[in-house]
Amino acid sequence: MDRLTPVEQRAPGHWQVGTVGAVKPETPRVKSFSIELPMWMPHLPGQHYDVRLTAPDGYRAQRSYSVASSPLDEGRIELTIDRLEDGEVSPYFHDVVVEGDQVEVRGPFTSYFVWRGEAPVLLVGGGSGVVPLMAMLRHRRRTMPELPMRLVYSVRTAEDVIYHGELGDETVLTFTREPPPGWSGHTGRINAALVSEAAPEPGTAFVCGSNGFVETASALLLEVGFDPARVRTERFGPTG
């Protein structure tokens, strides 16, 4: 590694030690961590980083987390992490990590679930599946705000809405358990009517969430005329 040129050191794949900046609570079980990177390189919205934790006895745990920030935020990435009770890495971030801590990461990785400016584009997120979609939404706002991009976002209750203050009129929310008082919008699981409202014409879709959510949502998109080759999905498993 010492013999690599600076350009090679920036190639994705090398572990680097980042420094945690602002830690922002998003919901009771979700926090966003801004991480400054010495070998930062621009990511494509939708890409992920791997995080590696090392215990004093040498034990290690690795997980992947989607980047939530736009690549225009140079020198840092934001990872938004859902706290999973039986997890190993997410509880560490929630219970231990504070501003100024160091964390080992590498990335950005994989280039399929990424937005490269396709339009029109429909984002469909369930719970913390909204994270990679937020990178797309944020990047579009800062580069081509007129481009047609809509977000359908399914959450359980009002307190589960991640990025609450940043969702604008491009977003259609649905509450599956308990809507906030006075809510006159959508409730219940996403359905064809909701998808048709958000996407009057089929285009490219990015769907992210639990496997059950993604199965339901992607089947709905095919029903309303989306081409399966233009429905990109990312599913997360039960652990963290």
Partner: protein, 203 residues
């Protein structure tokens, strides 16, 4: 090897008794069977399913679902390792050895592209597909393979990361060179040996 220690981190997950040496580096043991797919789940009925071996072969071969089931089936106890970090230890599948599918075709190349219904591809050297190391399976733990796990049939190559075990497998195309498949073009390693932690291009 970096000397970095994560402040305040200690192990929380335990590997089930006696299985620690079966967990490759960077993996954790998962009792469930998570689903990871890059697009919508294709619906392939067994009656429409077929498996073919083509490309650089002396004899192109094709099997219908019924013809495939006349081939000798084996039970395959194995551990599987997903590049997203989970491993499922001590599971089993049932299917036909890829040796039995390649032999009658008489391959002339050293590599293959596995191709699937829905358009997925993945590349493997024949050395990783032959010699009792790979199967086309239709059952998982004595049940028909669920559609979300690749049913009616998927490739099973348990010694490599699980993206190589193509779901909804339609056939193998024998080639004279190693050509990156879907994930191999999109960032994952050309071979994907979990014991060498070959996750991404530069690993």
């Amino acid at each position: 090897m970096s000397n970095f220690i994560s402040r305040g981190f200690t192990r929380r997950r335990r590997v089930p008794e006696g299985l620690a040496d079966r967990l490759p580096p960077g993996q954790y043991a998962e009792s469930g069977f998570p689903v990871l797919t890059a697009g919508p789940t294709p619906k392939i009925e067994p009656a429409e399913w077929g498996f073919r071996v083509d490309g650089m072969v002396d004899h192109e071969r094709e099997w219908t679902w019924d013809e495939f089931h006349a081939l000798p089936f084996e039970t395959v106890p194995c551990d599987i390792h997903c590049v997203t970090k989970w491993s499922k230890l001590g599971t089993s599948f049932r299917g036909v050895s890829v040796d039995a599918l390649l032999a009658p075709a008489e391959p002339r190349g050293e590599y293959a592209t596995a191709f699937s219904y829905g358009g997925y591809t993945t590349n493997l050297p024949l050395a990783d597909l032959s010699g009792g190391k790979a199967w086309v399976v239709t059952e998982h733990e004595s049940e028909p393979l669920p559609r979300e796990h690749g049913g009616p049939a998927r490739l099973l190559v348990p010694h490599l990361y699980f993206w190589k075990s193509a779901k909804w497998i339609a056939g193998l195309r024998v080639m004279d060179h190693d050509e990156p498949g879907f994930w191999e073009q999109n960032g994952y390693h050309i071979r994907g040996d979990p014991w060498q932690e070959q996750r991404y291009w530069t690993d």
